[in-house]
């Protein structure tokens, strides 16, 4: 537990010291949503709003998580001696999860700023967003460790990440569209349950598979 805490603190202090990865993500979000604002001229249907929000989240989180293992390449030799794979994975997963959740939230605020949209059921909407974030963070963490060992690291992240993320994203987009339209949580209980089960499958899989993708 202590090691995981130390690793997490290391990640955040690295971000705090270098600063540019964090600011680049913010500028990414700002420019993407501003482009949408300018090109749609303030008129968005509910479906388009929802789709745009998730597409911006998808693109930004791919960029955000893509760096998580690529920047470790010179340090990983120490990790082999010091850490169990599950410890490293858990710390990365938590770190990425914090990033994905905050990016999703920030993107939501920006979309609300540019295109005000009434959310009928905020608590269920947040729950759905959190579940999708968990799935995205889990899948992208493994994909990032896979793409770190290929020759074209940043390209592979989106090539491999998008198809893997689609099942989670598809369920999330459908749920949030229904929730914005005014459905209650009980109406979409079935799809929330399947979203949870897909999340569980992803998390379980990455803990099994990560040791193999990490070893050199």
């Amino acid at each position: 537990m202590n090691r995981i805490k130390t690793l997490l603190i290391k990640e955040f202090s690295l971000d705090f010291r270098t600063k540019y990865p964090f600011y680049s993500l913010i500028s990414y979000l700002l420019s993407l949503s501003y482009i949408c604002y300018l090109s749609f001229q303030g008129t968005l249907s509910l479906e388009t709003w929802n789709a745009l929000w998730w597409i911006i989240v998808l693109v930004t989180t791919t960029t955000a998580i893509g760096k998580s293992f690529i920047q470790e390449s010179d340090r990983s030799i120490y990790y082999y001696f010091l850490l169990r794979p599950s410890e490293l994975l858990l710390s990365k997963l938590l770190y990425n999860l914090i990033y994905v959740v905050s990016l999703t939230g920030l993107c939501y605020l920006l979309m609300q700023l540019f295109f005000p949209q009434h959310i009928a059921n905020p608590s269920a909407f947040t729950l759905n967003g959190a579940l999708v974030s968990i799935g995205l963070a889990g899948a992208f963490t493994l994909i990032s460790s896979i793409s770190a060992s290929t020759n074209s690291q940043s390209n592979m992240m989106s090539v491999l990440g998008f198809p893997v993320a689609i099942p989670v994203l598809l369920m999330g987009v459908t749920n949030s569209r229904k929730l914005i339209a005014g459905k209650a949580l009980e109406d979409i209980q079935g799809s929330i349950t399947s979203l949870v089960s897909v999340d569980v499958i992803i998390i379980a899989l990455i803990f099994v598979l990560f040791p193999y993708s990490w070893k050199k």
Partner: protein, 220 residues
Amino acid sequence: MEYFIKTSWWKWLALGLLVYTVIGGFLFDVPRLPILNETVRVLHFHVPMWFGMILLFIGAAIFSVRYLLTQDLKYDLYSKELIETGFFLGILGLATGMLWANFTWGEPWSNDPKQNSTAIGMLLYFAYMILRGSITDDHQRGRIAAVYNILAFFMLIALLFIIPRMTDSLHPGNGGNPGFNVYDLDSDLRMVFYPAILGWTLLGLWIATIKVRISKLNLL
């Protein structure tokens, strides 16, 4: 897989079953149904090709697991060839399905959840082939490809068996459309359908074993 490379009786079985499928599929009596009419015969081509694809992908996932456990490169080769053949069968299944949809649903692509899942599933395995191309070291490629393949396989399961269940599909057997059991009261279709599954799967396996042998020769 070694067993299938060495023996040949199942190739004769595949040949026999496919000849039976083509003759039986086109000539046997089929139930008269509104809209479907004679197009119900696509059941013997489109659906079994998909079954074959899924069975080949299951085989590929099993070989990926075995590769991770043993680090033996032959399992990596098997899993790669099975995926490429399965991908080919998947495209054939998609093409025959679109042809059928053009007659029954009015257009080749009608935003059906199963069709969309199919397209994404193909994308998943397309990414697998791109991934293999981007790594040069044999053992590293085997390991990384195996890890991705297992993840992709579970996502395919989610795509094909969870998501389409959540929404209505135009496919027979979904969303209030009557399925196989209702259409096929006298089991005429089943007599061809089940052999067709085995036939198309074995044909895929046949192609995969030939590809394995070619790859092994190229290594020499």
